[in-house]
């Protein structure tokens, strides 16, 4: 629980609401994180506006997942400031408190509760009291049931409602996880690689879903798939070696000199990128080919 300077519980659990008068919902300022001397994040600055859909791209090791870890409280930064709206200092809160405050996160690998049914997965994620005694004597209200049904329809899993989540396909698990995020009624959704391992058709549907969520929620998407990023993103942030390399619309990014230099692997960048996996190679070629098209 947070208290103000005089010690009163001004920002008690239920009172945590971001102040977004300046239109920014998430402030990440001068954040540095190092693991055994390796700087995963290096004086990173990032501002996410209320209701926007932002894509984060960058090669492996650029710090995308670490950034998400910092925002959700899994990793504590060495220096810097992270706040939700203007007032709520996220560095003071635990993971569970951050989640209850309204920041939801989807993991890279779909993590759902395999033994529980799809319905129960959503039920547990619903916003509300998460205390022990409430859980022990809790009964679902009709309103909550409707809400669950609505979410299941949104993510297209109504029919699988009573299946154990472990029996869903990979793509369905990804959607279920997004549905679990929605159930928590978050202000900010952090989505790590939502279309990894999805078929083309599934990717398209996911893109539709994420775009429709923006506006009501702020959505931050980390993704390697450049076609996917191009299809959804208005604003793109490029991370490189733990800090922001460039920010702007997709076409601005693609014509940005720094980005091209890094991705083409000139001089300093070349060693790092030799080790990369197929995905980032394709990412490279994507970025490579695009500016050429534009110059033609």
């Amino acid at each position: 629980m947070i208290v103000d300077k005089s010690g009163s519980p001004l920002l008690a659990d239920e009172n945590i609401k971001p102040d977004t008068r300046h239109g920014v919902i998430l402030y990440v300022e001068d954040v540095s994180v190092s693991f055994d001397g390796f700087k995963a994040l290096n004086d990173l600055n990032l501002y996410i506006n209320d209701g926007e859909l932002r894509c984060l791209i960058g090669a492996n090791g650029a710090g995308k997942t670490t950034l998400m870890d910092v925002i959700t409280g899994k990793t504590r930064p060495d220096t810097g400031k992270v706040s939700f709206g203007q007032q709520v200092d996220l560095l003071q809160l635990s993971e569970a408190e951050i989640a209850r405050a309204g920041i939801g996160r989807k993991f890279q690998k779909p993590t759902v509760f395999e033994e529980l049914t799809v319905f129960e997965n959503i039920e547990l994620s619903l916003a509300g009291d998460k205390g022990i005694w409430t859980a022990l004597f809790h009964k679902l209200t009709g309103e909550q049931k409707d809400r669950i049904a609505e979410i299941l329809t949104t993510i297209g899993l109504s029919k699988e409602c009573y299946y154990p989540a472990g029996r869903l396909s990979h793509g369905q698990k990804q959607w279920l996880e997004i549905g679990m995020l929605l159930a928590a009624e978050p202000r900010v959704l952090l989505v790590d690689e939502p279309v990894a391992g999805m078929t083309g058709q599934e990717t398209e549907r996911t893109a539709e879903l994420l775009t429709s969520l923006a506006g009501k929620h702020s959505v931050v998407v980390v993704e390697h798939d450049m076609a996917f990023v191009r299809s959804i993103a208005k604003q793109v942030t490029v991370l490189h070696q733990g800090s922001v390399l460039a920010e702007g619309t997709m076409s601005e990014i693609q014509s940005n000199k720094d980005v091209i230099q890094v991705y083409l692997g000139e001089e300093d960048g070349s060693d790092d990128y030799a080790k990369e996996n197929e995905k980032s190679v394709s990412e490279k070629t994507e970025l490579e080919s695009k500016p050429q098209e534009q110059t033609v």
Partner: protein
């Protein structure tokens, strides 16, 4: 983008059938679900009470020598099994549902047992060998002149009942809050629980602890004024154990079926996800761990008057491992599985140790290996497993059909575009 819906085949089918989208499909019980109701609360409690009644009836009504007669020996043997079953239930609650592999539940069992043992020692009064009305024999033997402070109140039955819950509960609370807060889990936690019970065993072996040292507490005379040597008292204890088990089962069943149970299961499957959903897993783990420890304590308290002794051997790590084996063999993650496991393995132990005592541990180990390899869900998972196969075959044909309908709907949409 106009639609906020992922159009899968299913939602398409729904809208085609003009069914309102917000309605959930009916949860039609399948054959397997009907069958698994064999493990439902009413059936288990019913079975438990009927068999307890049967044993009581046959013990009282039929004369010795009659085919239907159940001997006094058998009655107290069954009483012991029921204590084990309650203990297995406690282990299943933390391991089967919450994924905390506790290899130290023997400690909670023994603490409950010692609380009862202290009360029974004080009931002896001046009938002990030394005839001291206040001090138990072992204290007189050690030349102690007065009761240690922690024995104060031990002559009261209410104090005893309170300690049966508080002793194990407090240990679980202290250990659990330290371990879960620092996010110790998996095999490290198991080793720590094992270490705790081992340390307690060594501590209770010391005479200075004031719990009778090596010999423990024994030579009990009576409980609540009834002589422990009387067959009727033994029968009474058996019935009390059956009732305690029934209550313990109902409590566990309530927990497991509540939202609490689902949170706990979720913690077992994906703890980090639970944390990011907004629950505090450490609180839930601690809570269920304490409840489980208390159940184990009750089991220990009922066990002691039936076997007539409690000594530090009950803390031995081997005992705690055996409890885990019961649950693994019976079927973790199902409450009735734990009961089956405890009773079946204990019965096997009784028979086996009578025939060839040296081989018992090998047999137990072998059984554990076999069950882990071939029956991951234990005995309780045996029948539903077979039926599940049939069920999924049926479903496979279902999904084939839905795939077809999916294809047709895609064709339709292509045609329309």
């Amino acid at each position: 983008m106009t639609t906020s819906t992922i159009k899968t085949d299913t939602s398409m089918n729904h809208s085609n059938n003009s069914a309102p989208n917000n309605h959930l499909p009916n949860n039609k019980p399948t054959f397997v679900q009907k069958l698994s109701e064999l493990g439902s609360l009413r059936v288990v409690i019913g079975f438990l009470l009927i068999s307890a009644f049967y044993v009581t009836f046959c013990n009282l009504v039929f004369a010795e020598g009659s085919f239907f007669h159940v001997s006094d020996y058998t009655v107290s043997l069954f009483g012991k099994y029921l204590c084990y079953a309650l203990l297995a239930l406690a282990v299943d609650l933390v391991w089967g549902y919450c994924g905390i592999l506790s290899l130290g539940h023997g400690a909670f069992f023994a603490l409950g047992g010692y609380a009862m043992g202290m009360y029974l020692m004080r009931q002896i009064g001046d009938r002990g060998v030394y005839g001291n009305p206040d001090l138990p024999d072992f204290m007189v033997f050690l030349n102690w002149t007065e009761l240690p402070w922690y024995w104060a109140g031990s002559s009261s039955v209410f104090w005893m009942i309170a300690m049966v819950f508080i002793g194990p509960g407090l240990l679980a609370y202290i250990f659990g809050s330290l371990a879960f807060r620092s996010r110790v889990s998996g095999v490290y936690l198991s080793i720590m629980t094992q270490a705790v019970t081992y340390a307690l065993m060594l501590a209770f072996f010391r005479n200075e602890m004031g719990f009778g040292g090596n010999n423990g507490l024994t030579d009990f005379k009576e409980i609540l004024g009834f002589s422990l040597q009387e067959p009727s008292t033994k029968l009474g204890l058996f019935v009390a154990t059956a009732i305690a088990l029934a209550i313990g089962y109902m409590v566990s069943d309530f927990i497991v079926k509540s939202k609490m149970g689902r949170v706990v299961t979720a913690i077992r499957d994906a703890e980090s996800r639970v944390r990011f959903v907004g629950f505090k897993p450490e609180h839930y783990k601690l809570w269920i761990y304490v409840v489980s420890a208390m159940l184990a304590g009750v089991a220990g308290a009922l066990y002691v008057p039936q076997v007539g002794i409690i000594n530090p051997g009950e803390f031995s790590p081997l005992n705690s491992i055996e409890m885990v084996v019961w649950v693994a063999i019976g079927g973790r993650g199902t409450l009735y599985g734990a009961l089956i496991g405890a009773v079946v393995v204990s019965y096997a132990k009784t028979r086996f140790t009578a025939i060839m005592p040296e081989a018992w541990l090998f047999a137990l180990g072998g059984l554990f290996v076999l069950v882990t390899l071939y029956l991951p869900k234990g005995i309780a998972g045996l029948l539903p497993n077979i039926l599940n196969k049939k069920d999924s075959e049926n479903e496979a044909s279902d999904t084939d059909q839905s795939k077809e309908s999916n294809n047709t709907s895609i064709e339709k949409s292509e045609a329309s575009s």
